[in-house]
Symmetry: C2
Subunit: 338 residues, 2 copies
């Protein structure tokens, strides 16, 4: 047998294992057992297998580890993102390490440093609410560590990103409430330095405008957590111009709004229709279940991980890419006013 003809597939076939196992065994991948590595190396030597040595040494610094920084693990959306990331990476032999910034800039910075120290090959990041300085990300770029942002991105760094068309999602949600007969639609919004907060508010305002409804500042409130909705919505409902519809920036906040509406003795959707954003498990277990904008967490995580791996595998530089996922309104009973 001529040695140049021996391939990884030949070795795999002889040993009854997969080509990717052979490939990883030859690269001393930590997932492959000592026994398998020895068997593969022994046979490779016997068959005089001659790998592409340049390619092999180039890859030698690979740690097969990807770092992820997310704001809060407790959100269904982010756990869906993680499932998508893991499904896209696991089959290719990558491990995923997750750090939570807990919406704190300082933790985001120290997580970035810790993941670098752990020798991750690249990062997937959704920015914390409180991050308004970006040196830690610029530092990654300067160190040639690829980074892909998802959902919440850093506006000043030109890098790969996967986003949702939040404007469209909010527009659809608000238009739906108008079509169902709502005249006074409140919006519970997220911080405006985050693109998701800004774009959802703008989508809401545009839908009002297109339907000749004048926005009422009393009905547009910064409130993006469950507990705060329990506090703020009762006050909204006591206004002379109380809302007959509420569009909340996420499902946890929408679920809080629903509890507050019911506690006031009002009915959902008859008196107050409610729409959330995320399409999480929460939106299906409330009574009535909540109409919500599907945020495509799983798809977003999968896409972001694929973009990162493509970047890691690339032999040369190429321009940063932005992928915008289409939102979708999932209609349930919380908004069926008519």
């Amino acid at each position: 047998m001529r040695s140049a003809q021996v391939t990884i597939k030949d070795i795999a076939k002889s040993l009854g294992i997969s080509p990717s196992t052979v490939s990883r065994a030859l690269k001393d991948h930590p997932d492959i057992s000592y026994e398998t590595k020895e068997a593969v190396k022994k046979l490779a030597k016997e068959l005089n297998y001659n790998p592409n040595l340049v390619a092999l040494s180039l890859r030698h610094s690979k740690t097969y580890t990807i770092g992820v920084i997310i704001p809060e693990i407790v959100h269904y959306f982010f756990s869906s993102v993680i499932s998508g990331i893991e499904d896209a990476t696991h089959d290719r032999g990558y491990n995923v390490m997750i750090c939570q910034s807990n919406e704190l800039y300082e933790r985001e910075v120290s997580s970035t440093k810790a993941l670098l120290a752990a020798r991750v090959e690249g990062l997937l990041v959704s920015m914390s609410k409180t991050t308004i300085q970006y040196d830690h990300f610029l530092n990654l770029r300067d160190n040639k560590i690829p980074i892909v942002f998802f959902d919440r991105h850093c506006p000043i760094i030109d890098t790969d990103r996967v986003l949702l068309d939040d404007f469209e999602g909010a527009y659809k949600a608000t238009k739906h409430l108008i079509k169902k007969g709502c005249k006074r639609i409140a919006h519970l919004f997220a911080p405006q330095h985050l693109a998701i907060g800004k774009n959802r508010l703008e989508g809401y305002l545009k839908a009002l405008e297109d339907n000749n409804i004048k926005p009422d500042n009393e009905l547009i409130i910064k409130c993006d957590i469950h507990e705060k909705a329990l506090e703020i919505v009762p006050r909204l409902l006591s206004l002379p111009n109380a809302p007959d519809g509420i569009f909340a920036v996420n499902d946890n906040t929408a679920a809080g709004a629903m509890i507050a509406v019911k506690q006031k003795g009002l009915k959902v959707p008859k008196d107050v229709a409610i729409v959330g954003f995320s399409n999480s498990l929460i939106s299906t277990v409330t009574d009535p279940p909540i109409t919500s904008v599907e945020q495509k967490g799983y798809e977003m995580g999968k896409k972001a991980a694929e973009m990162l791996i493509r970047r890691l595998d690339a032999k040369e530089l190429y321009p940063a890419e932005t992928e915008i996922l289409k939102s979708e309104l999932i209609i349930r009973n919380s908004s069926q006013k008519r």
Copy 2:
């Protein structure tokens, strides 16, 4: 000034920073800025500060990173655990890296290896449902990497652990349903090779026994996820001896059971009372909200992290410790039959 008298506190005071910052600057901790490190080192030299060099070199291999392996991030319980872990570790300068096993043995093994390769100082682990081999944990022990199990532990390794009194929690939940007048209480249980599944089932059975209720095998079903409850509970409700109470092993399953009961045209709690386990956000947003056993996720994470740090800081070995947290039944309307 005699050099032996200069302490970290003196340096901190002179520079207007905290003693822990000085200490970390002297150890070249990655969280401390270059400028601060230089300032601290310069002053330490000027003052002839003389640290305990042995202690310093012993600690020199510290990475200030702790690894966490959890089954599924999507569960409220595990995200509460992570909050507890982070609150206990962050102030001490540790970073936390999380891997998800996704209830898969193989991912648990590769996560363990990846975290070791990332040079974590110790691990906090809640075992996956499918893990029945333990070499990866034994390997950690052999490498002197401390490990603390929480919630789901490895039965054959003598190491630190923090558990909940699951038996007691299940006993209280079942007894509560009996007191509310339930005669035929179903239990939706988790896999029996997990101590949590076994202990909760045993607590349920003991409560029946203590109240002279004969267990009915038709009402004791393996079902621990939301989607499966939607499938199985309708069948349970069609039995001649249909249940008038359901105790589910977690809240997501209990919420699924509630949806199924309502879809059957029955009322909760009047026709079927429901109790869950976890006391998660889900249990508060359903209508009626779900009575649930508080699983103490935050406390468990905090405790486990503290045990690990104590182990990392210890100058000598001491016997493995087990801490059992007290469960608590949080009563809401889903069980108020009478």
